[in-house]
């Protein structure tokens, strides 16, 4: 025993003496001329969206900030929640690891609406990694990772104001205040409010096209920086209250809630978050650092969808300790550490109580080799113990090779495992007359087994000059193979949704081909074609995943004039999306008028924005979404009889509202 202790002590001595690195590996992006950064030298297939990119669309919140980027598909907000869901590699957000400053943020109870709880103006940059991610933040990610960095108090400006209004009667106000309290301390206060004040029914089906809404969202962050001693710390406090009401135009919650007078729905969410981050960089060893993150949050959603009641409360605690250093020299780096997660759920679906406690503890080690030139590899592994998922290992691998100049070849592989929160993730289905039936009862999560998938990816990108202007062309191919999946089956019957463990095969193949070109100075073109083959074996046969287009085409044109004195400038942006046919849920047993075809029609959507900068402190923008005015037919099945057997508001494959125009302004004090 004592011998072991002495060996251990010796080991520690050696370790601390010979190893020595940079802190919380933040990718810093500031005022760079490129708004979308793809690296030739990063090991993982990561795209960085800078704050400049985020201004290309009037992104009200995080969910909408991906519209000008081909890697992520933004779905159409459903009539009910008004929230846009995102997909990567054809898989919805539950299969993504979404983090805010490397702390998992959109998970569990917040899965459906979480992205709409972060206002776009708070965001400094977003890093999108396709495929198996890093092991540092956890084991849940399957198809990719999205990390958002918020504006840092130390680099923030004293005052920022953004006001926005649109023809669908949505209004937003963002105000940021910042104060440098001392040389070491600075603080920011972000206040966001949004509201939709009037009822819209452009398709005359008697139902609101988007919900009435009210949100107040306040974030106060503190930053401590002591560069000499190597300390950095962040402390965040956040409060959010979001209220939505939707349903039939005549629905009055006070009068009609819980009755069959009119169909209506309310979704009220209150959240409170506290998070801290502490980083230390060894002053004489800039390549060695320690990071310690802690986050506590409480999420409380009270909602009803017609006569279906759904309440979910989640209290969670997350902790992550990470140590970064090198072996011999900076060609060999490593990160190692521990994570702890605790989630207490109080979940009630009508009269059923699904309350539970989940917790997990895990350790990770990630090794990076970089020959400082044309080759790097990241090999990571973690072991976790979870009270429902058991003890399991999560391996991940990323390799990068530059065969020649401006060419980059990447490969990744990895495993992910997660428990599906089937109600929280599929709550739009509560807005239908479907019954929720679980065919398996032996598993530990709603009777189901954990979802396990392997993801493999290969990508290549080549930059070159075409007629003297820079261009790049690339492709990537990813495959996700599910060993087990919590299948959500809407192919059996329009009156049912079935949940069961995968029997047979389920996979997602995605291919993206991209071409980007600088047509002229300040005039950029981005194009992408995307092919998705996402199949699963359902009880009634093998189908493509419902509400997923097999073919998609994306185009974006951006033009800026030269910046004149005092910062005067015009910016123009145009985005084109074409979506092919989508598999629709099975409605073949409904009466003829409530039947949908097997496949949706293909259609295209166009967005446009013009920004006029008057000076470096004041600008206004106007824009239009869906200016081609495409509207989905028959958004709400059985809308004549919302308490009848064919009612279904969950089948949304295209825009509901039609064309929408907006205007806004941004004002800064520097």
């Amino acid at each position: 025993m004592q011998k072991q202790i002495s060996i251990l002590l010796l080991f520690f001595f050696c370790a601390f003496n010979s190893f020595a690195q940079d802190t919380l590996q933040e990718i810093k992006v500031k005022g760079n001329s490129k708004s979308l950064k793809k690296s030739y030298s990063l090991t993982a297939n990561t795209t960085v969206l800078t704050s400049k990119e985020l201004l290309k669309a009037a992104c009200c919140n995080l969910a909408e900030s991906f519209e000008t980027n081909p890697s992520i598909d933004v779905n159409f907000s459903d009539a009910l929640t008004g929230t846009k869901q995102i997909k990567m590699l054809g898989l919805t957000s539950p299969y993504l690891m979404i983090t805010e400053e490397n702390i998992p943020s959109v998970r569990g109870a917040s899965q459906a609406y979480g992205l709409s709880f972060t206002p776009g103006t708070w965001v400094e940059s977003i890093q999108i990694t396709k495929g198996a991610g890093s092991v540092v933040n956890g084991f849940e990610s399957i198809s990719g990772q999205i990390n958002t960095e918020l504006i840092k108090p130390i680099s923030d400006i004293p005052f920022f104001l953004n006001a926005y209004g649109s023809t669908d009667s949505r209004f937003e106000l963002n105000t940021h205040f910042n104060k440098k309290i001392s040389e070491k301390w600075s603080s920011s206060l972000f206040v966001h409010g949004n509201t939709r004040v009037s009822k819209n029914d452009m398709n005359d089906d008697g139902f609101l096209d988007n919900p009435l809404a009210k949100q107040i969202n306040v974030l106060n962050r503190w930053q401590y920086t002591n560069a000499e001693k190597g300390w950095v710390s962040f402390i965040n406090f956040r409060y959010m209250n979001d209220q939505k009401q939707t349903g039939e135009l005549n629905f009055d919650p006070d009068r009609d809630k819980g009755t069959t007078n009119y169909w209506g729905s309310e979704i009220n969410t209150e959240r409170f978050d506290v998070s801290t981050k502490l980083g230390y960089v060894f002053p004489d060893m800039p390549y060695q650092s320690i990071g310690f993150q802690n986050a506590f949050n409480s999420h409380d959603q009270n909602s009803y969808f017609g006569l279906n009641k759904y309440n979910i409360k989640q209290k969670s605690y997350y902790s992550n300790l990470i140590f970064n250093s090198i072996i011999n020299n900076t060609k060999h780096k490593f990160s190692t550490g521990l994570n702890f997660t605790y989630d207490k759920y109080g979940e009630f679906v009508n009269a059923n109580d699904y309350s539970r406690i989940d917790n997990s503890v895990g350790a990770f080690f990630e090794y990076t080799y970089d020959n400082t030139d044309d080759f790097s590899v990241v090999l990571g592994g973690r072991i976790d113990n979870h009270n429902r998922l058991g003890t399991f290992a999560t391996p991940r691998l990323h390799v990068r090779y530059n065969p020649w100049e401006k060419g980059v070849l990447r490969f990744s592989a990895g495993r992910g495992k997660r428990s599906a929160n089937v109600f929280a993730e599929n709550q739009q289905l509560l807005a239908s007359s479907r019954t929720f039936d679980f065919l398996d009862t032996n598993g530990k999560i709603y009777g189901l087994n954990p979802e396990i998938a392997w993801n493999y990816g290969l990508s290549f990108m080549q930059g070159f000059l075409l007629f003297g202007k820079s261009a790049d062309v690339g492709f990537d191919f990813y495959r996700t193979d599910f060993q087990n999946q919590a299948v959500v089956d809407v192919m059996q019957s329009p009156q049912q949704v079935l949940f069961y463990n995968l029997i047979g095969k389920s996979y997602a193949n995605s291919l993206q081909v991209e071409f980007n070109y600088e047509l002229a100075k300040h005039f950029n073109l981005r194009t992408a074609y995307k092919y998705y083959d996402i199949q699963a074996d359902y009880l009634s046969g093998t189908y493509q995943r419902p509400l997923q287009a097999k073919h998609r085409f994306f185009g974006n044109l951006g033009y800026e004039t030269h910046i004149l004195d005092k910062g005067k400038q015009w910016k123009f942006d145009y985005t084109f999306n074409w979506l092919g046919k989508q598999q629709l849920p099975n409605t073949s047993t409904n009466p003829v008028e409530d039947r949908l075809p097997e496949l949706s029609p293909s259609f295209s959507v166009m967005n446009i924005q013009v920004t006029r900068t008057f000076s470096s402190t004041f600008e206004i923008y106007i824009g239009g979404e869906n200016i081609g005015n495409y509207k989905q037919d028959n958004v709400i099945l059985g809308n004549e009889n919302p308490f009848g057997p064919t009612f279904d508001a969950s089948i949304v494959y295209g825009p509901v509202f039609g064309q929408m125009y907006y205007a806004g302004l941004r004002f800064k004090i520097k």
């Binding site: 004592q2 011998k3 002495s6 003496n17 020595a20 004489d284 390549y287 020299n329 900076t330 400082t372």
Partner: protein
């Protein structure tokens, strides 16, 4: 108990060795290296890191200064400069051989003093 004594002894020995030589395991070293471009930067840093004991290397293209962190118990400045000269770049103390210099890519052939 015996083991604890061994550990203590070991620690003592460790400290005394360090005290005698006063050689820093994370010594900051900087010197001038001639070069021109991004390709030079890669080559210089690669050569520096190839020396056992060099932990990190960062060459600044604008001023030509190479910033190193190195373990003085394992290496010294001259050894590092020799390794860099070998790939064709002149340093403060060690100049590259003519044939090594001429092997450089044309854009890397800096002006020799």
């Amino acid at each position: 108990m015996k083991n604890i004594i061994v550990v203590l002894l070991l620690t003592f020995v460790g400290f005394t060795v360090q005290a005698q030589e006063v050689k820093n395991k994370n010594a900051k070293v900087e010197f001038h290296v001639s070069g021109n471009c991004e390709m030079c930067k890669k080559r210089i840093e690669k050569a520096a890191l190839s020396v056992s004991g060099v932990k990190s290397a960062d060459w600044h293209m604008d001023c030509g200064t190479l910033y190193l962190i190195a373990n003085e118990q394992k290496t010294d400045v001259l050894t590092i400069q020799k390794a860099i000269a070998k790939v064709g770049h002149d340093t403060d103390e060690v100049k590259a051989l003519k044939e090594d210099y001429e092997k450089l890519h044309t854009c890397c052939q800096y002006e020799r003093k």
